[in-house]
């Protein structure tokens, strides 16, 4: 095995894993802090992608289109929390069913509004060369984006007043209310942040995954499994599982076939859940 090939394979596997992590963080936040599995997560990704696409088509630079996408998905997320999620707290399967239904509605709305094909914005045409192999540059940039996103969310939840309130409202709801934390508002905020993170992911990944009504499906299964395998310490756990499972799958795909890559992902998921039925982080002391 030539060293240049090995280096490109390793680098691109880390970048593939980072892309999965970017798509997963929002789901992990909502599950970790609210115990809600948002099956419409993929569609929030899609909404973020379309929001960023529409903003760039209106002449906004791509870098500014990303915050626009975040704000739009956060607003929609807040509405969804107030109208649907709030009424179903503690009913895990009912929320899954409701958000699944919501995902179909969002999907079909996207078809009606944007049609089935919309122009992409294209991938910035830069790359790097290692030996006689070259790699697209933008997917490599996602390694840094994933690291920053993770650091931001971790800081938000552990170092800010909102973060403390959010954790208190979920872990000790009655005591939190007794000391004056309005848990309903905090939860709306948390869900909105989770959706905003999905919107960010959809927008930042737009050059790699073109905006289509069905784009959410591509991510939601693996993101969902990464969160489930992670277990109760959702954020750190999901970061670990997304990097491990996603990177392992990509590595396998490079040396064998993409089918083998997917097989590794799903077999490893099953094996981990067999070894750790409550998720790999079940016995961790960390909070996030």
């Amino acid at each position: 095995m030539e060293p240049d090939y090995l280096a490109t394979v390793l680098l691109s596997s880390v970048s593939s894993a980072s892309i999965l992590l970017i798509a997963t963080i929002g789901l992990a936040v909502v599950f970790g802090l609210m115990g809600v599995i948002n099956l419409a997560h993929g569609e929030f990704l899609m909404i973020g992608a379309y929001a960023a696409l529409t903003a760039t088509q209106r002449g906004l630079p791509f870098a500014l289109a990303i915050p626009v996408a975040v704000v739009i998905t956060m607003l929609i997320g807040a509405c969804v929390e107030v109208l649907i999620i709030r009424r179903l707290y503690g009913r895990l399967f009912d929320t899954m069913l409701a958000t699944w239904g919501l995902s179909m509605i969002f999907y079909q709305l996207a078809v009606l509004i944007f049609g089935t094909v919309t122009p992409g914005i294209g991938m910035p045409q830069f790359g790097i060369t290692i030996g006689r192999y070259s790699l697209a540059g933008y997917p490599l940039l996602m390694i840094a984006v994933a690291a920053l996103m993770l650091a931001f969310v971790y800081g938000l939840l552990t170092r800010t007043v909102y973060g403390m309130k959010a954790r208190a409202a979920i872990q000790q709801p009655e005591i939190a209310q007794a000391i004056g934390i309005e848990s309903a508002r905090v939860n709306t905020m948390t869900f909105a942040i989770g959706c905003g993170l999905a919107g960010f992911a959809g927008a930042v990944l737009l050059p790699i995954v073109p905006a289509t009504p069905a784009m959410g499906f591509a991510f939601v299964v693996k993101a969902f499994l990464a969160v489930v395998v992670a277990g109760p310490v959702a954020l750190t756990g999901s970061a670990l599982t997304a990097i491990g499972l996603g990177g392992g799958a990509s590595l396998t795909a490079s040396f064998l076939t993409s089918v083998a890559g997917d097989a590794v992902f799903f077999v490893a998921t099953a094996a981990l859940l067999w070894l750790f039925p409550l998720g790999i982080s079940a016995s961790w002391r960390r909070r996030m």
């Binding site: 078809v111 122009p119 045409q125 790699i208 993409s258 089918v259």
Partner: protein, 402 residues
């Protein structure tokens, strides 16, 4: 509601039966109007309605307008089986136009055979479908690839890499690529079969670079696989390696792709909107008047348009919509001046002899035609499938694995 509809159609049938010989002809359309495949299904359905409208405006068939029954298969295979049975048993249609994927066609084929009504399948496909009731108006893989591989080997060189979806369209097409590569003295240096859910193409990009081909035959299906083309360009591979495809553009991928990535990619199909014929100009004018011109017309839409016209002409020629005489009329050298040039239905194979176009992507989300191969026969289908000599044949031929 359903039973009253049924009764209404029964009583209508009774009235019509007692009346003059001109019974109303009913045709069924089952396409994916919602779900992931509606990129194709909506246009297929639009094309059918447009064709029926123009035929009815010219007097219909057998002196009466055609009536259309429409169902949405929702991009789900089971719905095809369900609605194909519905149109046969309840709606009692005279002909069926349906399906996009090969699996949908294989689900419908036995139902049409048992009910003994003509069934038109209108999409590019892997080839080899052979059935007395089934007619295919899209191009087959061998029909497209015979032209494309020959052209690409001359243009780029003799080393070929294949990137294809991991199901029968991809795997059978890959066998044809090997076959035509050998004929042109070229060689397949690598293959990668990808599931439709894959979004990470970095491994494929590296394998391509490791194999050092002169050109890649990419057969991306669905929105995710369009991402492959974007990554191929961004990694800089487009500068040194050609990329050709039998289905790039078939779902308007050139609109999704950025101009930078799309420029210079080679598509190959029985129809591109850029085809310059009077019939195509008239067709596009009619299409734009009804549906606007935001989205380019895809080849599957033209395949449906051609199918409806071939059937209507056959009914008028036979003087009846009954299956036996209509199939006989279709097998008697049916031709049509189609938007993609003159087409001729091959009596034995029920596939279409038609032009195959090679087109190059430009930087404005469009194509320009670089080669026209006239009257390309579905050679493999004609060789294997002779439904005139063997009317009872019902098979799906595919080339042997090498």
């Amino acid at each position: 509601m359903k039973s009253s509809l049924f009764l209404a159609s029964l009583s209508m049938a009774a009235v019509l039966g007692a009346g003059p010989a001109h019974a109303e002809t009913r045709i069924a359309a089952i396409f994916d109007l919602t779900g992931g495949l509606n990129i194709y299904g909506i246009q297929q359905n639009n094309a059918l309605n447009l064709a029926v409208e123009s035929i009815n405006a010219a007097g219909g068939v057998l002196g009466a307008p055609i009536k259309v029954v429409t169902y949405d298969a929702q991009s789900e295979l089971s719905k095809y089986t369900q609605y194909a049975n519905t149109v046969v048993l309840r709606d009692r249609v005279d002909v069926l136009f349906a399906g996009l994927t090969s699996s949908s066609r294989e689900a419908i084929r036995p139902i049409a055979r048992k009910a003994n009504i003509p069934y038109f399948y209108s999409s590019l496909y892997e080839g080899g479908a052979c059935d007395k009731q089934t007619f295919v108006t899209g191009a087959s893989a061998s029909q497209q690839l015979s032209v494309l591989i020959d052209w690409a080997v001359k243009k780029y060189g003799k080393k070929i890499y294949v990137m294809a979806p991991d199901y029968n369209f991809g795997t059978i097409s890959a066998r044809w690529i090997e076959h035509y590569a050998r004929q042109s003295g070229a060689e397949v240096v690598g293959q990668d079969f990808l599931a439709l859910t894959v979004t990470d193409y970095a491994p494929t990009i590296q394998k391509i670079q490791a194999a050092r081909p002169d050109f890649v035959v990419a057969l991306p299906v669905g929105a995710n696989q369009t991402g492959f083309l974007e990554q191929f360009a961004a990694a800089g591979l487009k500068k040194t390696i050609g990329l050709v495809s039998t289905n790039y553009g078939s779902g308007n991928q050139q609109i999704v792709l950025s101009p930078d990535a799309g420029k210079g990619l080679i598509g190959n199909a029985e129809y591109f909107m850029a085809v310059d014929t009077p019939a195509n100009a008239a067709f596009i004018k009619q299409w734009a008047a009804k549906y606007g011109n935001d989205t380019p017309v895809i080849s599957a839409a033209v395949d449906v348009w051609n199918a409806v016209h071939l059937w209507a002409n056959a009914v008028n020629k036979a003087g009846t919509a009954k299956t036996g005489p209509v199939i006989a009329a279709l097998e008697s050298g049916a031709t049509f001046d189609a938007p993609n040039g003159p087409v001729k239905l091959e009596a034995g194979s029920h596939d279409l002899r038609q032009n195959i176009y090679i087109a190059e992507g430009d930087d404005k989300h469009g194509f320009k035609i670089v080669q026209v191969s006239k009257d390309v026969a579905p050679a493999y289908e004609n060789e294997k499938c002779d439904l005139v000599a063997h009317p009872a044949l019902a098979a799906h031929f595919s080339p042997d694995k090498q």
